[in-house]
Symmetry: none
C-alpha cells in the first residue's frame, strides 16, 4: 500500500508541476510542494538535488509528453493537410488543457544555462518534427516553413490563455484557419 520509490518520485513531480505552473517558480516554496505531495520537506531532497533541478525535471517530463503525443499522432496521419491539422490541434489542445496553469509559459530559470539548453532542445525537437513533415512533402526551406507554422500556433496560444470565454469551438476554428493560411496564404 505504501508508495514505491519510483511512485514517490512521480508524485513529487506532479505536485511540482501543479504548483510551479499555477504560481510560478519563485512564488512556489519547497515546503508547499512537499505538503501537496504528502511528504516531508527533506524527502524532496532525497529525489531531487535542488529546487532548480526539480523544476528542470518537471519541465523535461512536460516537454517529452508533448512531443511523444504529437509524434504518435503524426504516424497515424496520411495527407499533408491532415498532418498539419494534427500538429495544430495537438499544439492548441495542449495549451487549452493547461489554460489554468498559465504561469508555466512565462517563467523559467533564465540564468541557468542547463535549463536554457533544455528549453532550446525542446523547441529544436519540436521544429524538427514539423520540419520532417514539410520535407515529406518536398517543401523547400522546410525549416523556415516549420518555424512559421509553429509560430502561428504559438500566437493563438495567447488567445487561449487570456480569453476566459475561449471554447473548443474557437480552438477548432483557429486550427482550420492556421492550416489554410499556411497552405494558401491570405486571401485578398
Amino acid at each position: 500500500m505504501t508508495s514505491t520509490s519510483e511512485q514517490k518520485h512521480d508524485i513529487i513531480l506532479d505536485s511540482a508541476f501543479y504548483l510551479f505552473s499555477t504560481k510560478g517558480f519563485y512564488e512556489t516554496k519547497i515546503a508547499e510542494i512537499a505538503e501537496h505531495a504528502g511528504v516531508a520537506k527533506g524527502t524532496v531532497y532525497l529525489y531531487f538535488s535542488s529546487k532548480e533541478e526539480l523544476f528542470k525535471e518537471m519541465t523535461r517530463r512536460n516537454f517529452d509528453e508533448f512531443l511523444d503525443g504529437l509524434s504518435n499522432e503524426l504516424t497515424r496521419s496520411s495527407s499533408f493537410a491532415e498532418k498539419l491539422n494534427k500538429i495544430a490541434d495537438h499544439h492548441l489542445s495542449y495549451f487549452y488543457n493547461m489554460r489554468n496553469h498559465t504561469r508555466i509559459f512565462f517563467q523559467g530559470l533564465n540564468n541557468d544555462p542547463e535549463f536554457m539548453e533544455v528549453m532550446f532542445h525542446h523547441i529544436e525537437n519540436y521544429v524538427n518534427l514539423v520540419t520532417n513533415v514539410m520535407e515529406s512533402e518536398s517543401i523547400n526551406e522546410s525549416k523556415l516553413h516549420a518555424k512559421a507554422f509553429v509560430g502561428m500556433l504559438e500566437n493563438y496560444k495567447m488567445d487561449i490563455l487570456f480569453t476566459k470565454s475561449f471554447t473548443k469551438d474557437h480552438l477548432n476554428q483557429r486550427v482550420d484557419f492556421a492550416v489554410k493560411l499556411f497552405m494558401n496564404g491570405c486571401k485578398r
Copy 2:
C-alpha cells in the same frame, strides 16, 4: 552638469533595463541597480515605490518605444507588401538589437495582475496595429490573420535569441520569407 530629477529617473530606469534584461527580475538586486546607476540604494526608492513598480515602469517604457517606432514606420509605407515588410523588419530588428538581453522575454511578474494587464494590453495594441493593416487591405478575419503573422515573426525571434551566429542577412531573409509565406502560402 548635475542630473535633473527627471534625468535621474531615466538613469535608474536605464540601469534597471540593463540588469533586469540581462539577469532577470529575481536575480537582479536593487543594490546592483543603484550601483549601476551611480546612486544610493535609497535613491531608487525616491523615484520608484518598489522593485515591482520599477520593473513595471521599465516594461511599459519598452513596450511604448516598440509600438511608437512601428506606428511611425507604418505611416510612411504605402503598399500592403511594404507594410508587412516594415512590421516584420521592425519586429525582428527589435529582438536583434536586444539579442544580448534575452532574459527580458522570458520573465515577468506573473503573479501581479497589474503587470499581466500591462503585458496583455501591449499584445492587444500590437495586434490591433497589425489588424488595421489587414483591414486596410479588406482582408476577412483580419484579427486572426494579424495574430498569425505576428506569431510567425515571434517564432523567428527564437532563432535570433538562440543562434549566436545570427546576422543581419539572416534577418532580412526571414523578413522576406515571412511576408511571402503569409501572402501566398507554402509552395508545393
Copy 3:
C-alpha cells in the same frame, strides 16, 4: 507676517507633541512633524539637534506646564481639603483633556539616561509640591502620604484613558472620592 525664529521653534514643538502623543515616538517620523508644522524636514534640524532631543524638549515643556498650572492653583487655595481637591482636579483634568493623546503616557526614551532624568525630576517635583501641602498640615511621613495620594489619582487616569464614555461628572466623582478616602480611610 512670517514666523519669527522663536515662533517656528514652538510650532515645531506643537506638531511634535500632537504627533508623538497620538502615535508614539517610533511611529512618528520627522518628515511628518515637518509637514504638520509646515516647514521643510531640514528646518527641524535647525531648531533641534535630533529626534530624541525634540522629544525631550517637548516632554520638558509638557511637564513644566503641568507643574506651573498646579502651583498657581495651590496658591489660591486655603484649607487642606481644598488643596487636596485642587491637586486631584488638576491631575485628572489634565489627563481628561489629553484623553485622545494616550500614547504619550506609555512610551518614552527608555534607554536615554538624560530622558529618564527628565522624567524622574518631574515626578520628584510633583511629589515635592504635594509633600509641601502635607507638611503645611503637619502630617507625619509627608512624602509617603504625598506619593500615596498621587498614586490614587494616577490610577484613576486609566479609567479616563480607557473608558470611552468617561465624562466630566465621572471625573468630579473620582476627585471627591479620592480626597475623602485619603482623609478618612475606607469606611467599613
Copy 4:
C-alpha cells in the same frame, strides 16, 4: 540532554523578557534575542510569527504569573488587613524583584490594538481581584476603593525603580504604610 520543542519556546521567551525588559522593545533586536537564547535567528520565527507577537506573548506570560501568584496568596489569607497586606506585598515585591528590568514598565506596542487589549485586560483582572476583597468586606464603591489602593502601590513602584538604595525594609515600610493609610486615612 537537548531541548524539547516546548523548552526552546520558553528559552526564547526568557531571553526576550530579559532583553526587552532591560533595553526596551525597539532597542532590542531579534538577532540579540536569538543569540542570547543560543539559537539561530530563523529559529525564533519557528516559535513566534513576528517580533510583535513575541513581545505580546512575553507580556501575557508576565501578567499571568503576577495574577496567579496573587490569587494563590489571597486564598491563604483570612482577615481584611491581612489580605490588603498580601496585595501590597505581592505588588511591591514583584517590582522589587524586577527593579533591574525597568524598561518593561514604560514601553509597549502602543499602536497595536491587540496589545492594548492584553494590557487592558490585565489591569481589569487585577482590579477585579482587589475589588472582590473589598466586597467581601462589604465596602461600598468597591471598585473605586480597589483602584485607589492599587494606585497607591503603583506609585511606590517608582521609588523602587528609581531609588538605587531601596531595600526590603523600605518595601515593608511602604506595605504597612499603604494598608494603614487606606484603612484609616491620613492622621492629622
